[in-house]
């Protein structure tokens, strides 16, 4: 039995080497996604283009405006002189944020009254707008506190003031710099593995069916189980190598920390690969041509990707979709990958995810093997 499987393995690797579309299908998207998610795709907000209209022209107003520049979050791209300039800058998209200080800003401050800072935000990109508004609030409240504290020291009027201040000490655990690369790059192990392994295994079997060599194999003494093993073991190995490769690039090139136990990641990866291979096998049983396999792959893999929490948080989805994510193996695997990379937690925390993965793998494997045997008869 082993000998027959080994022959099949050799044949499979040979075919893979000769499949010229495999290169485009697998390698190019992997590299593009690595580059994009490592360098380009980010929800972080820096250097927001900012327009400034300072109608007060006082030391206070200039101080407040200059604080925006110091953070690196805001870049002043336009100094406006009228409200119309500001409106036009936002309208045309030259600036995403506009700061407006009305005349009398400083005199209000000096009298100990509340002085307004008007902020105009382009909400087209709601996420950037939200994050930028958060920073505006932080800068303004810091300015407030400093100003009141300063007033207290300097003036007689200030002596009677008693500022109340509650500092929110921010402690972002696991990702202190709030670097979105740390979130995306480990996640790529899951999404790329899923795309590539499901694709490879589905295509390998459908190709045999399409060109009619499946029947040839069936008349040889190879049994269905051996055939399935011979078809899936190469991709299992490829998957492991690929996971190791992406993880290495993530750790060595993108400097993502790996604080957990690599054995847990390996264990989780093996179960996840079983899920992906079974899914590929299952797809191969419902498709007769490679063209069909391609379309079916897309129909199935795209929702699995969106509903995995790779970039869009599951907690923000409507309840029905949240339920659906529970049958998505990628969802659990991403938790395992990110937790082993960034959190360093062990089996005591990750067992529910691993158990869920194992259950999904068992169900998928049973269904796909049964269906596959039926299609052979």
């Amino acid at each position: 039995m082993l000998e027959r499987i080994l022959h099949l393995l050799r044949k499979e690797f040979l075919e893979l080497r000769r499949d010229r579309w495999a290169f485009f299908r697998l390698l190019v998207p992997s590299i593009v996604q690595m580059v994009v998610f490592g360098y380009a795709a980010t929800f972080e907000v820096f250097h927001v283009s900012t327009a400034v209209l300072d109608l007060d022209h006082t030391q206070e107003s200039r101080d407040l405006v200059s604080r925006f520049g110091f953070t690196g979050r805001f870049d002043t791209v336009k100094i406006a002189h009228t409200q119309a300039d500001i409106d036009a800058a936002i309208d045309r998209g030259d600036a995403a944020v506009a700061l407006v200080i009305q005349p009398g800003f400083a005199s209000l401050l000096r009298k100990g009254q509340v002085a307004p800072l008007q902020v105009l935000v382009d909400g087209t990109n709601s996420n950037t707008a939200l994050v930028a508004l958060g920073y505006v609030n932080q800068i303004a409240s810091q300015f407030s506190q400093d100003y009141v504290a300063d007033l207290q020291h300097r003036t007689a009027a200030g002596l009677s003031l008693r500022p109340v201040q509650i500092v929110l000490e921010q402690r972002p655990w696991y990702n202190e710099e709030l670097n979105s690369r740390w979130f995306f790059v480990p996640g790529l192990i899951g999404t790329l593995l899923q795309i590539i392994i499901v694709n490879l295994s589905a295509f390998a079997i459908v190709r045999e069916r399409e060109i009619g060599t499946l029947e040839q194999i069936m008349v040889t003494p190879i049994r269905p189980v051996e055939f399935i093993l011979g078809k899936t073991v190469p991709f299992f190995l490829i998957g492991l190598v690929q996971a190791a490769l992406i993880a290495s690039v993530g750790i060595l090139w993108f400097r993502v920390p790996f604080v957990g136990n690599p054995l847990i990641l390996l264990f989780g990866t093996c179960i996840f690969l079983l899920c992906a291979l079974s899914l590929g096998l299952l797809i191969s049983t419902v498709c007769r041509t490679q063209q069909q396999a391609f379309a079916t792959n897309f129909f199935i893999l795209n929702p699995l990707f969106i509903l995995s929490g790779f970039s869009f948080p599951i907690a923000s989805m409507p309840q029905v979709l949240q339920w659906l994510t529970h049958i998505n193996p990628l969802r659990y695997y991403l938790v395992v990958v990110r937790a082993t990379f960034l959190k360093g937690v062990g089996l005591d925390v990750l067992w529910p995810e691993l158990l869920a993965l194992a259950l999904i793998a068992a169900v998928l494997m049973t269904v796909s093997v049964l269906r596959f045997r039926k299609t052979l008869e």
Binding site: V114, D122, L133, W173
Partner: protein, 377 residues
């Protein structure tokens, strides 16, 4: 060019689409599926974030602060812990994304020194959620401090501000800052790219694979007539899908539409010319359906998802990748879509992206018109 031959080709193509259930499914089912998936599944907003509290003081003051967190819809206090270890466990296993820790001397410090601190521990594996949550927590604590100050001032009969600067923000274009309004217009581009290029990439490759190319070559049809005849039905399908997406977005997802339908129609037509042209070029160049549809996915779907500003803001990308995005035609259409939907921009406001898209369309049409040769080798 003869209209008779052109319409004959178009009629044949329509029949072929009609009789091919897979193409029909792609053209009709795919837009609905993508709309639902992105409309519901893609949401970056933070709401009801599972939060854990650790009140080490247990005073009236600290409880009042906790109530503020409870009252905010951004947070949902799902766990109240009594020890640091329990807090760590809750954040480690992901049941809570945020933990608020009130120190034992919170109220005492507030009374004595007028200043105190609260700790916000956030699971920053998901950087974006963490950033937003910290912003909201800051706002809750800030308002609380302000109210405490006002209370204190009233008690002592003194007028006094803590918040010397108030941020008075106005959001334009997407007033509620809903991420759905930001995502959905871009989905239209995604669907166009997907359906348009997928369908057209098969049209010539199919003739080669089925051996009908010989028949086609022996007819008097000219390359130009062939191209236009083949693409017109897909153009119609594309416009139909665009109209469907528009109705879906406005009527189902309540995305505001502030621009003109004429602008949308004209720019969509331009984008369709680009997409269909690319699909056709691929189809001519690659004579297998599988290969053609894979390359089409790579050249259309991948850049339109990742590098068009559809979800990941272009202005946050590094300069090199930002330069590359100028080559991504999807970038211009996504900009146009978002502006037309949310800003109500007209053609004059969109001069630059429309011009870029026109140049692209002209170049692609020129290449496509010359691509097909009536030879069999």
């Amino acid at each position: 060019m003869k209209l008779v031959r052109l319409t004959a080709i178009a009629r044949k193509e329509v029949l072929q689409i009609w009789r091919d259930p897979r193409s029909l499914m792609l053209a009709l089912l795919m837009p609905a599926m993508q709309m639902l998936l992105f409309g519901y599944g893609v949401n970056l907003d933070v709401d009801h974030l599972p939060t854990c509290t650790f009140d080490r003081e247990g005073s009236q003051g600290s409880q009042a602060l906790m109530k503020r967190f409870q009252a905010s819809h951004y947070f949902e206090i799902t766990r109240v812990v009594g020890s640091y270890a329990a807090l760590k466990a809750a954040v480690d296993d992901g049941t809570c994304k945020l933990a608020i820790v009130v120190p034992p001397d919170f109220s005492a410090m507030l009374v004595a020194a007028g200043s105190s601190s609260v700790q916000a521990i956030v699971d920053a594996t998901d950087q974006n959620t963490a950033t937003l949550a910290l912003g909201y927590a800051q706002a809750v604590v800030g308002t609380f401090a302000n109210d405490v100050a006002v209370e204190w001032a009233e008690l002592h009969g003194r007028a006094q501000p803590t918040q010397s600067v108030s941020v008075d923000s106005r959001v334009w274009f997407n007033e509620q800052l809903e991420s759905r309004n930001f995502i959905i217009p871009g989905v239209v581009a995604l669907i166009m790219a997907l359906v348009g290029a997928q369908l057209t990439s098969l049209t010539i490759a199919r003739e080669w694979e089925r051996g009908t190319m010989e028949l086609l070559v022996s007819t008097p049809v000219k390359p130009m007539e062939l191209m236009i005849g083949k693409l017109v039905p897909y153009f119609a399908i594309g416009l139909l899908d665009a109209a469907f997406c528009l109705v879906f977005a406005i009527a189902w997802f309540d995305v505001p539409f502030r621009g003109s339908y004429v602008t949308l129609f004209l720019t969509t037509s331009l984008f369709l010319v680009v997409i269909l042209g690319i699909g056709y070029l691929i189809s001519v160049a690659i004579r297998s359906q599988v290969g053609a549809s894979q390359i089409a996915l790579l050249l259309t779907m991948l850049p339109t998802t990742l590098l068009s500003g559809f979800a990941f803001p272009i202005d946050q990308m590094p300069a090199v990748i930002r330069a590359i995005t100028y080559l991504v035609y999807g970038r211009y259409y996504v900009t146009i879509l978002k502006s037309v939907f949310l800003k109500g921009s007209g053609l004059t406001d969109l001069l630059l992206p429309v011009a870029a898209l026109s140049v692209y369309a002209a170049a692609i049409a020129f290449l496509a018109a010359r691509a097909f040769r009536k030879t069999l080798d």
